[in-house]
Amino acid sequence: MRSFTYTRPAEPAQPWTELGPDAMYIAGGTNLVDLMKCGVAAPGRLVDIGRLPLADIEVDAATDTLRIGALVPNSDLAAHPVVRERLPVLSRALLAGASPQLRNLATLGGNLMQRTRCGYFRDLAMPCNKRVPDSGCAALDGEHRGHAVLGTSSRCIATHPSDLAVALLALEARVSIDGPNGPRAEPIEAFHLPPGETPERETTLTHGELITAVEVPMTTLGAHSYYLKVRERASFAFAMCSAAVALEVREGTVRAARIALGGVATTPWRAYAAEAALIGGPPSTGAFARAGDAATEGAVPGRDNGHKVELIRRVVARALSTLAATDTPATDTPATDTPATGTPKSPGTGEAPRTGEAPGSTEGEHR
């Protein structure tokens, strides 16, 4: 590891004044330290933002918005009572990510900024456009079973690894940013950039800019939401495919739907076509299957990752049917046409959010 200098400002919250051209922020360190060890990141200076006053979770009752400070640990956010009750998809997505030890270190801002897990990105001996622009992409013809089928370009097919970001996308969260050029905010959908011609640029942040908070509207949709993650083992693995889903059903008709995908796209991916396939119709098994089909719209599989297209279909359909089978808000009436039944709940696997226990604490989806 290259040697570096270290500074830890506590106040004022203007850490960019500490940042030179060669410096990087560090929060929990769970991604950056890893990348420093394998040589992908080699900052000359670390600015530790970990003690800045950006670690609060506040409910704005006037606008029904949850404002989450960028330094809130993933574990604390997942366990927050308001998140568990009113934004279950967020809690579930967080608890489906990494391990308890990592979630205690990992912060909200760091999670959104984490780099891809593409093996070639981490291997300095291999060409990788994301790591070294214009060096080529070893994954195109190489090992790409786990790579993206949506949002890819001829330059990069790496997936975005975050679970949290997928849930935030489904919830239409906004990212608050501050930096040398003053504060700004934008929808999370705009924050992560598709690879296109410049896969080395992953977000809209410019050097010195800092995520300060994320704002999440607390809606009826958000309260009726779910996260399903399919991995190569039962826990502690990145997603092969995941879906964050939310439904608003009234009088047997889907009034609103949100579907976002993880593990299959180069950015957290909003499946608008799948949402459109549901709205105005009944929340039926058939409709959920059609939504699953629609979610694959635009998918371009490579030689070895065609299974992801089928996974998208099934994960979306199953996430929706599981959600539809859970308690719906009191205003809802049951679906009329072929009611969806969802997957049977095996004892102790926590399919439905249970009170008094962390949602998603045991996924058990594919044991």
Binding site: Y6, G28, G29, V33, S75, Q101, L102, E357, S361
Partner: protein, 128 residues
């Protein structure tokens, strides 16, 4: 911790956050110590397996004792991390049933696959 302080309880397993052998508590919360710099935790209390039982000549911590009683290890390399994680798991209240224990211990790998006995030890330490 290992080389400067001589505390060799926390192990360097993967060095990538993937195995949990390096697990320690910082202000009572479990973390993977391999992915964070000591400097970042100035002023905080770090507990390694060495500090768990209190007096080094005294009794084992109840979770340590439960691991011995249930033969919850073979080579022992992962064990300090397993025990630190288990102590935190109990404090967090995640020992409800076997599935819950497995999920909340998923950050600790055991290459000897002592998993059934690890779950049994934690169950016993939880008083179930």
């Amino acid at each position: 911790m290992r080389e400067t302080l001589g505390l060799t309880g926390p192990k360097k397993g993967c060095d990538l956050g993937q195995c949990g052998a390096c697990t320690v508590l910082v202000d009572g919360r479990r973390i993977t110590s391999c992915l964070t710099f000591a400097l970042m935790h100035g002023g905080r209390e770090v507990t390694t397996i060495e500090g768990l039982g209190g007096d080094p000549e005294g009794d084992l911590h109840p979770v340590q004792q439960a691991f011995v009683d249930h033969d919850a290890f073979q080579c022992g390399f992962c064990t300090p991390g397993q025990i630190m994680s288990a102590v935190a798991l109990l404090a967090e209240g995640h020992a409800g049933d076997d599935d819950e224990i497995r999920e909340w211990m998923s950050g600790n790998l055991c290459r000897c696959a002592a998993y059934p006995n690890i779950v049994a030890a934690i169950t016993a330490a939880a008083g179930r």
